[in-house]
């Protein structure tokens, strides 16, 4: 008798929890009607319906009294009077079966309902409010799960005697952890979603948030769990009765089983009836649960990849593209990779193949770096993977050939391809942390492939691994060798992956966006590393990227991809100085390097604000009286308590002094860990302010109570980074925009009017209201998020990396939208970003954050154009620039800076 394992694996591993985060989106799109088409599910539901009818109508259907014993008619076979025969006490089996259905099912239902009520309520509360509530309930759940149910029920029976109802009530309490854990996991998965944060900022109460965002998610998985738990309740109840415990005066299936087992030698067939009754009911419940679970997973839209920029609008039917090629071409003898007319596709839902790479041809010479640049969905990563034959499941090469150093890779078998990979063609992935096996040390992950590919002994491989770690710039090779992936930073992990890639001395290196997931300063260092290694080992390199600055830094030749095709290819310099294809021109125009910075805020009446002297630290200068201060942050510190007993508290930000005027945009730039997001969240009331003041219109809002803070929803709003998780995927756009308005008790007609106006303001199509977020592109979803922020006409919007997750061309358009809205409505922005160029483009003044402090604060063009603080200078020089000459210059300046710092 196994305790129920919930359908969602609650084994406590963070990886599985992340996967389940996609399920909440599915849970509300669940369709019960489609379930009926599944034959097994239908059969199960019919069977359970029959059992239910038997249970309810037992007094009408049963031919005899189930307890009417007879001394003479014992263990008779089937006859006219007794359709299924009689049992060891002469009682009619059919009647007992029918009444047994009633009592057995009723008992199971009692246990189920008890478990559900206790488990779900405690799970919801513990998951939502956390802290002490969580500890208490979780400990109670652990306690309940520590003992086998049967032992506890036996013990209970010793005290209260044989009573079905009390036993089942107690059993319900014992089963409640199953629901508790499920509800808890679902709630915690949803609770940290950005759209819940947005709801909180808009001022919704906790009860409303739970009802609107959390309960719909919990519904379907709970039903599945109920089916499973119901089955377990029935099984254990029958088991106890089989043991002879339980109320013998009530006919139950388990009791019948006990009777039959006692007579097993005299009438072996007697045992068939209760066995079938219990067995088939349990089978039906399990099948139903499985079908529900399959339906739940099928109805979930495949979660869009989180960190990648959004897909652009569906591609137009592609005419045969003419690839614009710049001269000069390469001599044949030098070419190591030759891709001809490669076409890659995935099975389309309606049948056939959907092409993600179409007719792509490219060549790479020995020692040459060939860049493959494009936006998301352009097919560049798919091209790289298909060269290595590492496409995800479903992907297939539909046409074309790949020749590597004379060998036709397409003709090789899987084992032969394995020998090519690693040794001759190597791969550097994009996300360093998820590409290292978390269960093995870094050293062993370097040593193992070398032993397999090069046949080295363990000692030899170890030595070589340490040499490689030193070569890629890791300061303490031995320490990193022994460490595990979760103990090193992203930058170090990427160096390890690079070391692994070059370990077997490949001729061709395929680097898939190797710097995208890294901070800007780390990015610059990795680019330098790649450049040095490539030069030393004379490798051919395919560099997949979306960043033109990286292209300018590293590539000799570059191919621009769009919608799966190459549109233009040629030497880097030629492409940058004279782009021919309109798409290439569009992309290069969207890169913001040469665009004018915004300059200081100009008000209509008083002329420009006196230009602030570029202070390296400390408070901003006084503003002119015509530009009233909207937000003033004084000496703010945010500190998080340590997790264990003795852990020191973690100081996220400290000594923050900043101010924002009405109608102004203040940019906040920094890398990961700088605290810029924490500062934004502190202003929004989503992070606790431990010290200092946050003055809004002169009043301190830092330590307001819950209820007062909610009233600020119409003053301060937010736009988050990730357009995929900042909108509740199961609500229509209309409902999402109506949410902030709910707080103000606005009439429905007024709300519709406002929403229509918002659509205009953010340039969304008029019919967007009835559609779900997943039907829109990333840029459009971000517009929806902006519209939601504007719904209550706030004075200040905190924008937390609002364009970072968007494609280059979309970025430019959305930034333009931000500017227009500011001009039209006079709203102020606190614009957080890691991208110096973006911040420069839109901000009047810029603050630079480093390790929790503001190191520089002043006018945008001053801070970004001629920075004073060494960190800002480093940041500025590290930002890649889409101009090969300027990039070379910056490289040189970086090197100088490093030498100066070392001296």
């Amino acid at each position: 008798m196994t305790t129920p394992t919930p359908p969602l694996q609650l084994a406590g591993e963070p990886e599985s929890a992340a996967r389940q985060a996609a399920l909440p989106a599915a849970a509300s799109g669940f369709q019960f009607r489609r379930l009926a088409r599944n034959p097994l599910a239908l059969a199960s539901m019919l069977f359970l319906a029959i059992v239910a009818i038997a249970a309810v109508a037992a007094p009408l259907l049963a031919p005899h009294d189930p307890n009417a014993a007879s001394v003479t008619g014992v263990l008779t076979g089937p006859s006219a009077a007794h359709l299924l025969g009689t049992d060891g006490s002469g009682r009619d089996i059919l009647s007992r079966l029918l009444y047994g259905a009633r009592y057995s099912m009723a008992g199971a239902m009692l246990a189920l309902v008890t478990a559900l009520v206790i488990g779900v309520t405690s799970g919801l509360l513990a998951g939502y409010f956390r802290r002490s509530v969580d500890t208490v309930f979780s400990s109670a759940a652990s306690l309940l799960m520590a003992l086998p149910a049967i032992i506890v029920l036996l013990a209970a029976q010793a005290v209260v005697g044989p009573s079905l109802w009390i036993s089942m009530l107690i059993f319900g309490v014992l089963l409640s952890p199953a629901f508790f854990r499920l509800a808890y996991a679902l709630v915690t998965a949803v609770r940290d979603e950005l759209y819940v944060d947005a709801a909180r900022v808009s001022g919704l109460s906790d009860a409303r948030i739970i009802g609107r965002h959390i309960l719909p998610v919990v519904r379907a998985p709970l039903i599945i769990q109920a089916a499973i738990v119901g089955g377990v309740a029935l099984a254990i109840q029958s088991g106890l009765e089989f043991l002879g415990l339980g109320d013998t005066s009530i006919p139950t299936w388990g009791g019948m089983l006990n009777d039959a087992f006692a007579s097993i030698y005299r009438a072996p067939l007697l045992i068939v009836w209760p066995t079938c009754a219990i067995g088939f009911t349990l089978l039906a419940l399990t099948l139903l649960a499985n079908s529900l679970r399959d339906e739940l997973q099928r109805s979930s839209a495949p979660p869009a990849p989180r960190k990648r920029p959004a897909k652009s609008a569906p591609p137009p039917p592609a005419p045969a593209a003419v690839v614009i090629t710049h001269e000069p071409q390469l001599p044949d003898t030098d070419i190591i990779l030759d891709v001809q007319n490669l076409t890659v596709g995935y099975p389309a839902p309606g049948g056939g193949l959907k092409h993600v790479v179409e007719d792509v041809s490219l060549t790479v010479a020995r020692g040459e770096v060939h860049g493959l640049v494009g936006e998301s969905g352009s097919g560049k990563t798919q091209t790289a993977w298909s060269i290595l034959r590492l496409l995800p499941p479903g992907g297939q090469v539909a046409a074309g050939t790949v020749h590597f150093e004379g060998t036709n890779l397409s003709a090789l078998g899987p084992r032969q391809m394995s020998t090519v990979r690693g040794k001759r063609i190597a791969y550097i992935p994009q996300e360093p942390m998820s590409n290292l096996d978390p269960a093995f040390s870094i050293g062993s992950q370097l040593v193992e492939p070398m032993r397999v590919c090069l046949g080295l002994s363990r000692a030899q491989a170890r030595r070589r691994a340490l040499e490689l770690l030193a070569k890629v710039g890791i300061p303490h090779p031995q320490r990193t060798f022994d460490a595990y992936p979760h103990q090193v930073s992203g930058g170090m992990a990427q160096r390890v992956l690079i070391a692994g890639a070059i370990s077997c001395q490949p001729d061709l290196l395929i680097a898939d966006e190797p710097t995208t997931a890294l901070d800007v300063t780390v990015q610059a260092e990795i680019c330098d590393l790649l450049r040095d290694l490539q030069a030393e080992m004379h490798m051919g390199v395919i560099l997949v990227t979306h960043d033109f600055g990286v292209v300018a830094d590293l590539c000799d030749r570059v191919s621009v991809m769009r919608h799966g095709r190459i549109v233009e290819t040629g030497p880097t310099r030629a492409l940058f100085t004279d782009p021919q294809h309109p798409y290439t021109r569009e992309l290069l125009a969207a890169v913001m390097h040469d665009s004018a910075p915004r300059g200081p805020l100009v008000t209509a009446s008083a002329g420009p604000v006196p230009a602030a002297d570029n202070a390296t630290a400390g408070p901003a200068p006084d503003a002119a009286p015509a530009c009233p201060t909207l937000l003033e942050i004084r000496d703010v510190m945010v500190e998080y308590p340590g997790r264990g007993f003795r852990d020191k508290p973690f100081r996220a930000i400290h000594d923050i002094a900043l101010d924002v005027h009405e109608g102004e945009c203040v940019g906040l730039v920094g890398e990961s860990g700088s605290g810029k997001t924490t500062l934004g969240r502190a202003v929004l009331g989503l992070a606790p302010v431990t010290a200092g003041q946050v003055l809004f219109h002169g009043a301190d809002i830092a330590r307001l109570g819950h209820r007062e803070r909610r009233k600020l929803g119409d003053q301060i709003q937010v736009v988050f980074q990730d357009p995929y998780t900042s909108l509740n995927p199961s609500l229509t756009v209309e409902k999402i925009l109506a949410e902030p308005l709910m707080v103000k008790n606005i009439s429905r007609r007024e709300a519709s009017r406002r929403i229509a106006r918002l659509f205009d303001l953010v340039q969304l199509p008029k019919d967007a209201g009835g559609r779900l977020p997943r039907e829109f592109s990333g840029g459009q979803r971000q517009r929806i998020a902006i519209a939601r922020a504007l719904a209550l006409e706030p004075r200040l919007i905190v924008c937390d990396e609002p364009v970072s997750a968007l494609d280059l061309s979309t970025q430019a358009k959305v930034l333009e939208l931000f500017r227009e809205i500011q001009q039209q409505t006079g709203v102020a922005y606190l614009f957080v970003s890691h991208d110096l160029e973006v911040v420069r483009h839109i901000s009047h003044r810029v603050a630079v954050m480093y390790r929790g402090e503001i190191v520089e604060f002043g006018d945008g063009d001053a801070v970004t154009g001629s920075p004073r603080h060494p960190y800002t200078q480093r940041l500025f020089l590290a930002s890649p620039v889409a101009d090969p000459d300027a990039q070379a210059q910056r490289r040189e300046q970086r090197r100088q800076l490093k030498l100066e710092a070392a001296a």
Binding site: Q9, L154, G279, L390
Partner: protein
């Protein structure tokens, strides 16, 4: 690592104390008229009062608990109210038999699950479908029904095994193996179902993970990747499921012993429950709790070995 073990041990001790106290109060609070049950209906009030004094039932509950706990720490769990036999003796004499069944079932479940899970996840196709079917049956049909079915078919019809009885390990190895085969199979099938699903699902998911693609790009064979890397990562969650299943096994063994007439704790438990023999029930609760805690400690150690994050944080 030592700190990790120490912390787990301490948590186990606290849990044991909590369970004991809770069980004691619930059991002794709920049971009235014990003296009358023991002496029979015709007992005089003086005899009842005397019996109550003898059993210590006239003291306050916390005092009784203190008395019991002091005795328990020394290994003295009191005396059965109905048989007069010391509780410790009644339980330990049969514990070995039950434990042998449960341990065999757990080991068999672990081995079978790994084999079936890996095959189902890597071969897919018909192997996968058969495994899914077996999992479904294992989930749906409770152990005692499977036991009854096994007895009917293999013992009574085919005569491959004896339907009842237990041959101790020390008497005859072959005899012991023959007498535990059917019970162990009936016991472990439910767990096999659950853990196999977990392993199968875990491997299928892991094969889509980024690090697997990177390992492939280094030239490692698929076999090495699955058996060395993916299995190591999947084992953690599977072990957690096994730990939960173990608790269920301890309950299920009670019923299985009944079916096969095996002289284990099950019989003691059922009798104690029917008669209302509280000291015996307390002893049982504590014994089971100790077994669960020790098993979970072993599982935690294994998790620490498998998952560096658990070990090092």
């Amino acid at each position: 690592m030592i700190g990790f073990i120490a912390r787990r041990l301490a948590a186990g001790v606290v849990l044991l104390a909590g369970i004991s106290a809770l069980a004691f109060f619930l059991l002794y609070l709920g049971s009235g008229n014990i003296a009358r049950k023991i002496l029979g209906e015709g007992a005089t009030p003086q005899a009842i009062a005397q019996e109550n004094r003898r059993l210590g039932l006239d003291q306050s509950l916390p005092a009784q608990f203190g008395h019991w706990a002091a005795g328990a720490l020394r290994g003295n769990f009191g005396v059965s109210w109905f048989s007069g036999q010391p509780v410790m003796q009644a339980i330990t004499s049969r514990l070995a038999v039950t434990l042998s069944l449960v341990i065999c079932a757990v080991l068999l479940a672990a081995v079978l699950s790994v084999v079936l899970g890996v095959l189902a996840a890597t071969r897919r196709g018909s192997v996968d479908r058969v495994t899914q079917l077996l999992s479904l049956l294992g989930h749906a049909i409770p152990g005692f029904l499977i036991a009854v079915f096994l007895v009917l078919v293999f013992a009574l019809n085919l005569h491959w095994f004896k339907p009842t009885g237990y041959v101790p390990f020390t008497t005859s190895l072959a005899g012991w193996a023959s007498s535990v085969t059917l019970p162990v199979i009936a016991l472990c099938l439910g767990s096999v179902a659950g853990v196999t699903q977990q392993i199968r699902g875990g491997i299928i998911d892991a094969l889509r993970d980024d690090y697997v693609r990177t390992l492939r790009s280094r030239g490692l064979s698929e076999r090495r990747i699955v058996l060395k890397h993916v299995l190591r990562n999947t084992a953690g969650p599977a072990l957690a499921i096994l730990a939960v299943q173990f608790v269920g096994l301890l309950g299920g063994v009670v019923i299985i012993e009944q079916v096969f007439a095996i002289p284990g704790i099950g019989q003691v438990a059922v009798q104690a429950a029917t008669q209302g023999d509280i000291p015996l029930v307390m002893g049982l609760v504590v014994a089971v709790a100790v077994i669960v805690i020790i098993f979970n400690l072993l599982v935690d150690l294994a998790q620490g070995w498998l998952n560096p994050k658990v070990r090092l944080s």
